[in-house]
Each structure stands twice: as structure tokens, then as C-alpha cells.
Subunit: 540 residues, 2 copies
């Protein structure tokens, strides 16, 4: 029997209606390429969203057409987010950090008919201009006076908007309609497109709005340093509108520690989110200038594991609580968020830190578990490794234009990560599945082993790969770049032996001059596995 | 184009999975009819939910069948909530405060096949036992030793559960499936059933979990004094599980100020929700015993307008912040919640109080507006009256087994209330639509006029109704029960003239000995309108 409740659609349009009607006076402050500090209200923002929608309506686009953005976090990008998705078109956020061949690939794979581009990012488009065969219009996100010279045919954002009505009748459609598209920046193969829906976006924002995650209120002021060009800046542009929270956008200043600190202090930012390197840059600046960030109370760190040193300095020097978070492009991205449960709150600081360094707890809306190779759920004991699988309303069921099944019979997607879950439910990523070393039916985390070695003063960098072993299937081989005086194998093994289980210790250690890395700076273990294929371990 | 996201269903089952897997150690504490203080964990609770599901599975019920509950807020009622809804059956929560003829009506209209009843509420069933023709089984929520004597054939809850497995494979179904049924306790006509769905229930809990509403965390301890037998205790049994929040259930002690205060202090309750009379009772007790409620930081008051005196005493004497909330059975019930926006936070206390006494702001998920008789949206100026219409994913689209359209062409339901919305978005109910006086195209709030009169020391009770007027369509007639010396009409009009607009003043005032009231204690204006039909006003 079906309930008798309204068939109200969870669309981004409804988020916009909510924010405009209730929090019209709330502010959005932006650094942009053409203005050091732009400031307006939600009411003005959504009035301009209607103007952008008018521009789009005149273009003769069809429902579902992709509109690309190549832009920083600022108010115009925010306007395009809402205008495109609410017009039943798809916002394709393009990552400007892609290599030219990847940029060309995603623009053509997405079949973007229009691209909105920040003036500072125009060179990236110019570099691939011969490949942009499907792009009909390129709109530069600036005013007439700041329009750049270019060999491309460009239109001016502000000129297109000028004089248009600030009200617009948006179409009505099903909540499962696609709203935005983001390509994974995988290290192997072509980027894969994740096609978010209005429903997934709204539920993701609602799931992230709760007190145990972002916990945004009308009194908060949030600075998203996570980019709007990737996974929708962790839904902050939606969650803030839902919660009536003032937004501060850093524009092209995302990696600039001094600019970030100044923006926090000038706008009284209370909460922010960013990758570890952003916080390293800010901490360096604060240390050098003996400044602090008074109003900031908490930050959310994701995109990479947050070093303990950042957590400690943020907290001890600046009174800023650091929450670890973890996610994936395929997860919109919110997968887990780290808060300390009441049952752990009385632990000594160092024991609590061990929990805080884990990836955290899934919010309502994410179900996750770890499974062995036969698909058996593993115990939640903090030590049993397993493939991490996830399911929920904001997790991908497939990739754009790829005929590839990514859901198992229980509705889970395999993350490609190996993880453990402890007895309190905290998830910790231990390795990428393809890098884990499978030995005698057990798994060894290559990352844990590398981290054990890196603590030794004679080790600059370490990399562990699995080598075929006639008896154990695989055994670990460690490659080390020495720092200063090269330690002996025995010394290094002895050093690691109280940090990992004895049977984890590598069967051999090879000192090398350099190690291969991917374009994003990660160890390229694929190359090493090929290079060391057939290597004979001393124990074999 | 449809997004490529998982088709994950928003079911109460998913809330249960979340709470059990992540917050298994969290507590549920209950006062029950058979135990002054019962205590167990979420893990134990959901283990027993599985046992109840096993009992239900053995009964041969069909998907969608209704299972009645006639019970207080306690852990067994909680278990039945989850077990019934998650088994694709419908929890019909029966209000024990209904008159026998209404009780008989709702049980038969719902076609309850099973009823779970608290031992203390069994007499209500016995009183209508000849009418219970469709009820097959009556299960008393207690253990064998506490089973009451009865002329009805009864089964024992604990005996049915004993020895059953604490795991259960629940069915999978669409999120639009009905989950629970609650009848309105309207003052006129038969009660009407609102049939909630899993989707509406989950979204309502998510919408209420955000910081600007309940804002529950794992550190909170919540005491729902709003009854589980009506509108699912404002979703607290779901929101608390979603948020990992400790639950404290007052059982039959809901109206007992001393018991409530003791429970708050013993269990360190931080947040609670209840109708004004509950708080009056608690405040009286605290005043008499010179006690306080240390841990309590905030309460949510709804069900009736919260008197300013309660807000002030709660805040000044006990440091408890009072949030006004408003809702309806048809709205699950959350409609608005009162928090002070940043733009109002610097107002002097008395001006802020004027905002705090309003019904509040809609959370994301509720859209509301006020309309005139031609369906034109009224200005948000704090004075323009209009019919309050609402829409959203947790609002009813119809009534159970009633062929009655309740949604207009824009998807709104008319609440039957007249309200104003101010420039900051705060909604304030001014009258019931049927009681408002329509005069010369403008509306007069009968309630505002009554409140203006009641302040006069010579007025014990006042009631205003509209009387036909040849020129103005309707004009107000005031009926007054005098207190002590009866004031003159002129004196009373003069007294009211600086409290309401001049043209609002009643055209006549009649002093009466008594006024008719409904069963729930409200003025019965229907009776008065019949009685005074054709009354000739001096101005006519």
C-alpha cells in the first residue's frame, strides 16, 4: 500500500526557492579574477540566477544538454550551478588541473554545448581549441571591461545578463533528473563521468547538513576551499543555501595561505573545508606572521588523509577543531565524517587522536562495510581488512555513457579501497585494493608498511609492492630512496618490527635513486609492478 | 536525462540499519506501566524489533495491513513502531484521549487486525469491545506476571517475543510504501486518517535533524514528551536513531511535572519537546520544590501557542531556551520552527520576544505562503492576512479511504488557518479560517480580538464571531463572561482601542453567563454562530 503524501520532488530548484524566500538577506562574498571582494545577498544571487537561466533559455538547448564550467569558487560559478541545473540542463564542472588531453577528452565526452570560463582559465581552453568541435558558445565569466583577448570567439557573461528579468519560470521535472556531471581524475585510463541527479544532490546536502557533519546554521559563515570544479565543493553551495549560511568564496586564491587567513579574519568565517595542503599553507603563514584565525571554530579536511601535525597545530595554536572526512567522486563525495562518539570522549588525548585520524563514521544515507574476496562481511574489530563497499542515495550506479555495471547484487559499489572498521564503527582506509599484498590468504597494507619505514631518519621515500611468491602467492618488496646515510636492510627491518606484524616485514629491500610518480604526485606502483615482475625474492 | 545514481530507498528500515550498526551502544531509557525505569541499548532494542517482526510474520498479515497501538512513550512502543513499518505493515497509532465513539470509529475505519495495548489503556478497549469486529488479536505490552484480568482474549507481548531470533530479514519495498497512520482529532466530523509513507517519514526526520530544528547529536539526550500515539512524537523516535541520540521515554508520566523533572535530572536530558501544559506542570513543580533542571538546554514547544510567561520562566529561572514550533497531523507534523535569524539577534529582548512568539520559519522541505480568496499570494509584511497553504515531501495529499482532493493546482494544501508572514519569513497563525471575520474585503482575527478583551480585569472569557451585515458582509460580535464587576461596552471598547485597529472593534458586546466549548476545551463557535444567526447588530 502506498502512503498518501505529496509527490514533492527533491530538486535543486526547491533548495533555491527555500534559500531565496527565507534567507534573502544572507550574504555571499567572493574573491574573483576581476574583483578583490565582491559582496551581495542570496536575493541578488538568485535574481541573477534567473538572468542566467534567461540566457540559457535563449540558446535553444535541450533538456539534459551539458553546460561546462571551467571556473574557481565564486559567485558567478554559484549562479551557473543553480541556473543550469534548475533549467533541466546538466552542469559539467571541468577540473582545470586536468592535462590538456584529459581536458579535451572530458569536454568532448560530455558533449558540452556551452562552456562558461573564468578569464584566468581561458588559456586551458585555447590550448585545445582545435579539439572543441562540439562547443558552440564560450562565455567568459567577467564584465565587458575585463574581457580578455583571444583567438576564440567569446561572449561576455555580464553583457549577456544585463537588463534581463530577475524572475524566471523554471521547468518542473522528476527528482531523478540529472543535475551535474563530474569526471573522476583516476590515475589510469580515461576519466569517468559521474552523473549526479537532483535527488542525490538534495539528499547529499541534507545528509551533510546534520550536526554530526557540517552542522550549518544561520549563524555560521562557511568558506569552501574545496573546489566547485570538483564534486560540487562537497555540496556546500547547496547545504549553505538550505541552511541560510553566509558563503565566502576564495576564487583563484584557494592555495594562498595568506589570502585564506585574511579572508577568514575579514569575513569572520566560522567553518571551512579543504585538502591538507591548503591548511599547511595557512598554518605556515600564521606561524610566520604570528597571526591567528579568531572566528574559525572547525574545519573539515578531506581529499587526502590529514596529517596529525595539522590537527594538533590547528587545535593547539588556533583553537580550531579538525574533522577528518572521506569521500569519492562516485559518492557526491560524502562517505564518512569524523566526530568523536560519547563513549570515546573520556579517552586520553593520544588514544582519541588514533580515532580522529581514521576516516570516520558514515552519516545516515551512507551504508558501508568491508568484505573478503568471497563476499563475506568482515568483523568490525579494527584489524580485519576487507574491500570497502558502499551504498546509498547519493552514490553512483554507473558512469556517464559507459556500459559498465558497478553495483553488486546487494546494491553495493566497490570503492577499490581496502579498509578496516573498528568496534565503534570508525572506518579507516588501509590501502588501494590493487596495491594491497595478498599473502597466504591474508592482506598486508602497502601504505602501512611504507609509513612504518618512512619514520626512519635514513628513509626519504618508500614504496611497497607485491611480488609473486611460489608458496605465499605474494610477498612484499620494499623500494627505498635513502636520506643521508643509507641504513642496512637489517636495521630497517628491526626499526619496522615494532610497528607492524612480523609477517608483514618485506622479504627484500632495494635501495633506488628514484621512484616513479603519477601526474597527481602519487607513487606509480603499476610501473614498478611491471619493472619488478619476475623479481626473485630471497625467500622464494 | 536521468542521473546515474543508486536507486536507494528512503525507508525506516535504512534508519534502523544505520542506528543499529553505528550507535549500538547508545541507550534508550523508559518509564513503563510495569517498570519504573527500564534501560537498554539500541542494539538490544533492534534485536527485540526483530523478535516483534518474527511475531508479526507468524500472524499471516498481508503487506499494508494496519496494526494498532494504544500505548505511551516507551521502549515497547518504539519496538512496535520499527517492527511493524519495517515489515511493510502500517503502524496505526491510536490516541487514547479519543472519546469511545471516536476510538471505535478509528479502529474500524483503519481495519486494524492486531492491536498492541498498554495494560493501563486496556479499559479503553474493553469499553468498545462489542465494536471490535475486525480486530483478530490483542497483545498486551507487558510480561506474563503483569498480565491484567480482562473479558477480552489477550496475548502477552513478552511471552510472544521470548526465545525468538534477534535477527530478521525484512522485506524490501518502495519508499512510497505506507508506514504509519494517524487520525486527526478534528473538532467536527469523523477523524480523518493521514497515511504517512516511509519516504515522508525519513525526509521529515532528516529535515528535523538539522541544526536549525532539533539539531540532535550523539551527545544530546532527548526526552520526547510529545506522544508517540500522535504524529509519531514529532519524528523523534526516528531522528534520534538517525543521529545516535540517547532517548528517554516518560511512559505514562507525560503530564506529571515532578516525574518529568526527576527524569530530566536523573538521565541528564539536554533537549525535550512537549505541549505548553507539560511545561506549566514542570515549572510549578520546580518552583514549589526550589529545584532546577541543570542539564536541559532547550525545549521545543508546540501543539498550542506557547505563552510568553513559560518562555521567560524557563529561560530566566532555568537557563532553558524555548523554541516555538508549529505543525499539523497532515504535516507529519513539522511545519515551522522558531529560531532567531542573525539579522534579529541584536534586537532588544522584548522585540526579539515578539518574533519568538510567532510560529517560526519553515525548514527546508516545507514551502508555505498566504493567499487571499482569489488565490493571490499576499505580501510578507507581517500584517497581510491570508489562507495558509503548505506543500512539501512530508505533507499529506489526501486522507485514508476518503475520496477527497486536498491539493490545489500548485500542489499546496490549505491548512484551514489564516496567517501572516513577516518580512523576515516568520509565520504567525492569526485565526482558523472558518472563524475569521470577513468585513468589507478585509479580515479580522477573532483570536486577536478575544486576546485584546481578555486583558481587561472585568473579562473572564471572550468569544468573537462574525454576524451578517448588509453593508460590510460580516461584522464582529463579542460575547463576554464578566469577571467581578461587569464593565460597560464603552469601557471595554475604549480598553481595546489601542490594541487593535479601530475598524476591528466589535459592533456589539453581549454579556453572557456561559460559553459553549468543544470536548477538547476550545470555544465552540459553530454553536454560537447558529445561536446568533440573524442577530441584528446596532450598526446594521
Amino acid at each position: 500500500m502506498i502512503g498518501q503524501m505529496m509527490d514533492f520532488q527533491l530538486t535543486i530548484n526547491s533548495v533555491m526557492r527555500h534559500g531565496r524566500s527565507l534567507y534573502g538577506n544572507q550574504e555571499i562574498v567572493s574573491v574573483t579574477s576581476d574583483n578583490p571582494l565582491h559582496r551581495y545577498t542570496f536575493e541578488e544571487a538568485f535574481g541573477r540566477v534567473c538572468q542566467v537561466a534567461g540566457v540559457l533559455a535563449d540558446m535553444g538547448l535541450n533538456a539534459g544538454d551539458r553546460v561546462g564550467t571551467l571556473a574557481w569558487n565564486d559567485y558567478r560559478h554559484f549562479e551557473i550551478y543553480y541556473a543550469v541545473s534548475c533549467s533541466e540542463l546538466v552542469t559539467h564542472t571541468i577540473n582545470p588541473r586536468l592535462f590538456p588531453e584529459q581536458l579535451d577528452f572530458v569536454v568532448n565526452h560530455a558533449e558540452d554545448r556551452v562552456i562558461f570560463v573564468d578569464p584566468t582559465l581561458l588559456p586551458a581552453l585555447e590550448a585545445i581549441k582545435d579539439k572543441l568541435t562540439k562547443v558552440e558558445r564560450i562565455i567568459v565569466m567577467t564584465s565587458e571591461e575585463h574581457m580578455p583577448d583571444s583567438s576564440l570567439a567569446l561572449e561576455c557573461y555580464e553583457t549577456l545578463l544585463a537588463g534581463r528579468p530577475t524572475e524566471f519560470t523554471f521547468p518542473e521535472f522528476d527528482e531523478k533528473t540529472a543535475s551535474s556531471l563530474c569526471y573522476t581524475s583516476g590515475t589510469t585510463g580515461d576519466p569517468k563521468g559521474v552523473l549526479y541527479s537532483h535527488r542525490s544532490t538534495v539528499l547529499h546536502a541534507m545528509g551533510g547538513a546534520v550536526p554530526s557533519v557540517f552542522g550549518l546554521t544561520t549563524d555560521d559563515i562557511i568558506l569552501p576551499i574545496v573546489p566547485m570544479f570538483h564534486v560540487n565543493a562537497w555540496a556546500i553551495p547547496y547545504a549553505a543555501v538550505m541552511s541560510g549560511t553566509k558563503l565566502v568564496f576564495p576564487g583563484p586564491k584557494m592555495g594562498d595561505g595568506a589570502a585564506i587567513a585574511d579572508l577568514i579574519n575579514a569575513e569572520k568565517v566560522t567553518v571551512s573545508a579543504g585538502v591538507p595542503t591548503v591548511w599547511l599553507a595557512m598554518l605556515n603563514h600564521l606561524r610566520e606572521t604570528k597571526q591567528t584565525v579568531e572566528t574559525l571554530t572547525r574545519i573539515i579536511v578531506g581529499g587526502a588523509a590529514c596529517p596529525q601535525a595539522i590537527m594538533e597545530e590547528m587545535e593547539q595554536a588556533h583553537g580550531v577543531y579538525v574533522h577528518h572526512a572521506w569521500g569519492m567522486t562516485e559518492m557526491s563525495p560524502l562517505g564518512t565524517f569524523n566526530t568523536i562518539k560519547p563513549e570515546l570522549s573520556d579517552l586520553p588525548a593520544d588514544e582519541k587522536m588514533a580515532y580522529r585520524l581514521k576516516q570516520g563514521l558514515p552519516p545516515y544515507g551512507v551504508e558501508l562495510d568491508v568484505f573478503d574476496e568471497e563476499g563475506n562481511a568482515q568483523p568490525h574489530d579494527g584489524t580485519s581488512f576487507g574491500s570497502l563497499r558502499v551504498r546509498g542515495p547519493w552514490i553512483a550506479s554507473g558512469y556517464f555513457k559507459l556500459d559498465k555495471e558497478i553495483i553488486d547484487e546487494n546494491g553495493y559499489m566497490d570503492t577499490g579501497d581496502v579498509a578496516v572498521i573498528d568496534e565503534h564503527g570508525y572506518m579507516q582506509i588501509t590501502d588501494r585494493a590493487k596495491d594491497v599484498i595478498k599473502t597466504g590468504g591474508e592482506w598486508i597494507s602497502s601504505i602501512d608498511l611504507e609509513n612504518a619505514a618512512i619514520g626512519h631518519p635514513g628513509v626519504a621515500e618508500a614504496c611497497v609492492i607485491g611480488i609473486h611468491h611460489p608458496k605465499w602467492d605474494e610477498r612484499p618488496l620494499m623500494l627505498v630512496i635513502a636520506a643521508g646515510e643509507q641504513p642496512s636492510k637489517e636495521e630497517l627491518n628491526a626499526y619496522m618490527s615494532d610497528k607492524v606484524a612480523k609477517w608483514w616485514l618485506p622479504d627484500d629491500i632495494i635501495f633506488v635513486q628514484e621512484l616513479p610518480h603519477t601526474a597527481t604526485g602519487k607513487l606509480d606502483k603499476k610501473v614498478l609492478r611491471t619493472q619488478y615482475k619476475g623479481y626473485k625474492l630471497p625467500t622464494a
